[in-house]
Each structure stands twice: as C-alpha cells, then as structure tokens.
Amino acid sequence: MAIVGSGPAGLAAALEATNAGAKVLLIDENANVGGQLLKQTHKFFGSSKRYAGIRGIDIGNKMLQELDKNHVEISLTSIVFQIFGKELLILKNEKIQRVKTKKIIYSCGASEKVINFPGWTLPGVMGAGGAQTLVNVHRVSPGNRILMIGSGNVGLVVSYQLIQAGADVVAVIEALPKIGGYGVHASKICRAGVPILTSHKIKEAYGNGKVEAATIVALDKKWQPILNTERTLKVDVICLAVGLKPKIELPLMSGCKTVHSPTLGGRVPIHDENMETTEKGIYVAGDIAGVEEVDTAIEEGRLAGIASAEKLGYISEDKAKDLKIEVRKILGDLRSGPFGEHRERAKKQLIQIGKSSRQRLL
C-alpha cells in the first residue's frame, strides 16, 4: 500500500500496517519524515497510555524508531502529482516514477487559512504555522514584535514558542468573545505578559515595504467595530492563526466524494468508520479527514492502517475487530469534553454519510 504524507497519521498507519506484515511505501514531498511533529516543541496532552507529556518533536522520533524495526520503504522529496485508480505518478529528483499499489492512505494534512485586511500582503504578514517552521525548524526569528491573530491552540502555542525564541508577542487578538484554544495554553502566555484581547479584529497593517504597525479595533456583539476603540501597535510581524483546512487535492483527484464541514475545517473527504472513502481501497487519516489534533491523527492513522491491512489479508477479521474497538475507544475519549464534542458530532455525521454511500454503491 502507499501512504501519502508521513506526518503523525501517516506514521501511525505505516506502523500498524507493517506490524501486520503489509508492504508499505511511505511517501512525503518534504526532505524529512514527521510532518507537523517536526515543529511541535511543546509537550502534548492526551492519554499517558499513548504520547501525553512527550514533546511533539520526540513523538516523531519515537514513531520512526518503532517503524525502523519493521520493513518500510520511505520515499522523500517525492511529489504525488497524478493518480490513475491505484497507480500513483511520483515526481522525485526530476524523474517520474509509476507506483502500482492495492491500497492508498492519504494523510496529507491541512493548510493554513487566511483572512484579508488592508495591508495583508505586506512582507511580515505570515501564517502562524509559517512562523513556527522558521523558528522551530530553521532557528530563525521572523521579527521582534509580533501580533498574533487568532486565539485557537495554534495561535496560543505559536505565541508561546515565539516568546521562547526571544520575540515579543505584543498581543493575541480574537474576533470571538472568548478564547478559542485551551485555557492552560492561554494562561501560560498571560503569565509571560501577552494580553489576549477577545472581541477584537485587525483593521489595517501598514509600513513602508513591510509591516511596521497594525491598527486593531474592538468589536460589538454584532461584529461591528466600536467607535474610538482603535489602537495602533508597533509590530514587525503579524501572524495569522485563523484556522486550517484539509489538503484534499489528492482525494479529489481520486474521485473521492467530499462534504462541507465548518467544524472540521472545510471540505472533507467522506469516510466510513474504517477511514475508507467513497472510493474503494482509498483511505484518509489525520487532518486531511478533518482538522483536529495530533493525537486523533495518530489514532485515525492506526485505524486506516489496520483496516487496509485487514482488507489485504494481513490481519484476521477477529483481530482487526478488537484492534479497531480499542482505537475507536481512544478516539471517543479524545473527542470528549467541551473542546471535542463538536468534532465528535461532526465525525459521527461524516461516518454516517460514508456508511450510507457505501450501501448505495452496493
């Protein structure tokens, strides 16, 4: 089978499939395996039975070490650019390779959303993920004084990481009347002196050829700017942490049906309880199947790996059933509570559509 995307979901899928003895080709367009894990310097939440308390960068290494014990073929700097059924066309080192496979798992992740405002194209305005890559992977600071737009976990955690890198996060602004991410992430940056301003938006960014300042304004209950609340902040970087959307180009190319789910980040491929899409033999796992967390990506990857290995005959129906029950229980736990319940509902609806599409096809 081919697994496209070697982030947490892809690595977890590869582990389960190779544990069962399946032949796996793990493909990634980057020069390194690990996807988002390579940038996550903070300790993860979740279950202590899984990876809680371990830094994201170390989880990636741990998974790779486990994978090394099995036999897996890894193809890096490889771009999957065309799919014919289960045949992939891959561009690597300026050469085209054709790979025939029986199952495909798409674990390509998500990309950052943007918001537009006057001055948003100025150098210095960047995605929060882009800033995180610069700081944690390349060890370069994007600037000195940073305005973070968005108070979801990405905005809060990247703000923390920018402070650790020596930058001054001048404020986090959030259009909603409450903070989007976990309270403990917010408290951490408040203790570092970062004000989190809810019901605020950015009015304009300006500067001579690059960001030099930003004007922010408070919003009323109808999302309208409140007169006389404008404030200008001297900043040289503005990070956008306004959400992620699944990178569904390859599933679309494969003909997978999608549905729009605002909770899950946008258009997501329909999948059933085994992570199989509307195209038989093609699976999705991780953020590509709906934007959630690293720990849910890992469990979805496991599910896709187990289900596809089962279909290939590497795992018996009974053993697969037990494994899937275990994984689905963990997923249920991870999607519980006030932060997870919307995603749990959205995923349930998605899986319902997936199940009924399968029945219609039959």
Binding site: H42, R55, V184, S187, R191
Partner: protein
C-alpha cells in the same frame, strides 16, 4: 478587568477555588502542597501517573484532576510533567515571613540562585520582589526547569512566575 479563564486566559480565584485540584486555604498554610490550576475539561492525564504518592486522580481522560491534599506532600514531581504547565507547589512553612512558590519555567536565561527578581502574577504584573531559592533542571523534566521563589506570605495566591527577559535567545 474581569478575570475569567475563557475570556482573558487568566483564571479568577473563584474559578480556581471551585476546582478539585486546588487545595483548601487551611491546607495551603500547613505544609508544602501542590496547587493544580487546571479547570477546563480537556483530554489529558499525565499528572495522575507521575505522582509518586497517588495524590492526583484523573478518573476519565477528560475529568479535571483531583488533588488529595492529605496524601500530597508537595514534593513537586508533578510540576514539570504537566503539559499545560498548570501545576505549582506552595510551601507556606518556608520561613517566618516568606512562602516558597515553585513553578515550571521554559525560557532562557534561567535566573541565578540567590538573585532578587521581580515576581509576577498570572497577568505577568510585577507585584513584589522575591529571592530565587532553587532552580531545578533534571533530565526527566525534559527541558522544563522548576524554579522556587521566596516571596512575602501574603502573595501565596498570586505569585506564579517571574519577568522574562525578551531577546535573550537570539544572536
């Protein structure tokens, strides 16, 4: 400014006192004890595993951590383990005038033991001066240092950090 975790990121004392991880006032003024400032239901439970005395219970993955203040010795094993950096230890019996407050710290530079520094509250407002008594770094802490600062006793509920020097990490 109204303090509430969901609106500002700063939990109010009222919100904290209601949570099962926050010890009673009587216990806090007794011997060293952990103060768990984790008041939102999120899937997370490593604090339960790390306590050598079993004083922290997380019944199901999203349950709030419950502190058994009788069993807790204030050893501080949990401080560096909490991924949310939400656990502190207070020792009211440290000296006649001062309480020793221990907190997790993941910035550079680390303060020097013996130095007098600005002690800050949950908003990073400087509210008093304190003496750095201990700076603990251990391999098992995985790059989370634990700093202990002595401040006047009346700040036991408020001091949760020190000022951070910005720009120290860059060239």
């Amino acid at each position: 400014m109204s303090k509430s975790l969901a609106k500002t990121g700063i939990p109010s004392i009222e919100e904290l006192e209601k949570s099962p991880g926050f010890p009673s006032k009587e216990r806090m003024m007794n011997r060293p004890v952990a103060v768990i400032e984790c008041i939102q239901k999120i899937p997370c439970d490593p604090c339960q595993l790390v306590c050598p005395f079993g004083a922290i219970k997380v019944n199901i993955l999203i349950a709030l951590p419950e502190l058994n203040e009788e069993i807790c010795t204030g050893c501080g094993s949990c401080i560096a383990y909490c991924p949310g950096l939400a656990i502190f230890v207070v020792d009211y019996t440290f000296s006649e005038d001062n309480v020793l407050i221990s907190f997790p710290y993941e910035y550079l530079p680390l303060p020097e033991v013996g130095s007098i520094v600005d002690a800050t509250d949950r908003m990073c407002k400087v509210i008093t001066k304190g003496k750095i008594v201990k700076v603990l770094e251990r391999k098992s802490f995985d790059h989370t240092a634990v700093i202990s600062i002595a401040v006047p006793k009346n700040f036991i509920y408020e001091v949760r950090g020190i000022t951070i020097s910005k720009g120290e990490g860059c060239i």
